[in-house]
Subunit: 239 residues, 2 copies
């Protein structure tokens, strides 16, 4: 299930009910902490970053033993989240149709970040993760090229981390081949969480900002503009 951008207020009541009814909650410890106010007596299985396979395997083991298990992802579980891995592992173990699985959507970073910036996603957009841990950089590069060439609004997930520090600059170089340096860029860290940071800049200056693994970056199309502290991508209405 998806827990949204971070604040309890952004959870759907479907997600909230599932969490309350769960006997076991499985998740990355940072995300478990975000929902701790609604944990009563559910068992918690939490592990650190990059232990996704381990977490899913533990969740499946619990579910096969007959318990109601909620696997949590921040944002939406189906967008670079845990939903796919749960299904893949169930398939591998031959249990795909032996456990009832419900995927509960959540508010993904693209739209929670967009809401803090104004309305940058009012037209066609591409969501691209800059993490090359599981995807060859050549594929990411090809997608950045294609999306910039076709004037998509572009949303970057996982733009940088301590270990991945050159990908964002490469992505920006590709953007500059097709998009004007003055194209608006929005950066949102910790959307809707207490430590939220929101920056509006442009492609020229975007690298000045503290972009890390908690940030989502939105790069406009050729109609996107900044007005009164908002980023607006017109939908095309004549007003």
């Amino acid at each position: 299930m998806g827990t949204g951008p971070g604040a309890i207020e952004d959870l759907s009541s479907r997600a909230l009910t599932a969490l309350k009814n769960a006997e076991v909650i499985v998740g990355y410890k940072t995300y478990v902490a975000l929902i701790k106010s609604i944990i009563v007596n559910q068992e918690i299985i939490s592990t650190g970053m990059t232990r996704e396979i381990e977490r899913c395997a533990a969740a499946i083991e619990q579910a096969l033993s007959g318990r109601r298990v909620a696997v949590i992802s921040s944002g939406d579980p189906g967008v670079y989240g845990m939903a796919g891995l749960v299904l893949e592992l169930l398939e591998k173990e031959g249990e795909l149709n032996n456990i009832p699985v419900e995927i509960i959507p959540g508010i993904t970073s693209a739209t929670s970040a967009a809401a803090r910036l104004g309305a940058p996603l009012m037209h066609d957009f591409a969501v691209i993760s800059l993490s090359d841990l599981l995807t060859p950089w050549e594929i990411i590069e090809k997608r950045l090229e294609a999306a910039a060439y076709a004037d998509f609004v572009i949303v970057l997930y996982n733009p940088a981390s301590n270990k991945r520090n050159w990908q964002l600059k490469s992505a920006r170089d590709i953007m500059l081949k097709y998009k004007a340096p003055t194209t608006p860029v929005g950066i949102v860290k910790n959307a809707a969480r207490q430590q939220e940071e929101v920056y509006i800049t442009d492609i020229e200056n975007m690298l000045i900002y503290p972009i890390d693994m908690l940030a989502t970056v939105i790069i406009g199309n050729k109609s996107t503009r900044e007005a009164g502290g908002f980023i607006i991508t017109p939908r095309g209405y004549t007003i």
Copy 2:
């Protein structure tokens, strides 16, 4: 604000609270009907389809008169929704920074449809509206080409309507230039609403299905597969 795919259970509590606290609710009548169970004594201003500008203008007029107004969009208000138009009209009227505006995100069709299909959006994806009412078809076509060429998972919004009946076939022809005819396709109509319909097919056969303006269509990338009634796009984990 976004009201999610349609069921009250998919609203965030932030959206629910805003609706309850509003003095006026403005929206397309079909979407107002979806949230009628939480309307107590708020004034309702609802108009038909394609009256978006009129609705926004009415909302702004109410807000300028000092009332708390909630403008509702189904899904997420920032994805082909009302958020951009509200900001554009406020800007045009010179009122952009004179009224406090909060954009409350919702669960957009891409992820609500994905959740019903399994996990098709586990990798980079492009969201493209096939509506050429406000966008020249050449731009849409260019984006379909670029997204298919770069092997994005592709989510089609507004795939067809009574008046727009050839765009989907054109989009499919473009997909077939780059993607295998056996590429999984998921079609979700009325996600999470009572009349929900979910179909899993492939590019070859997708036109057989009843795709209309209530449908969201998700077309896989080259790794996407169907398993046990789910569409799965692997994220790349070695399991």
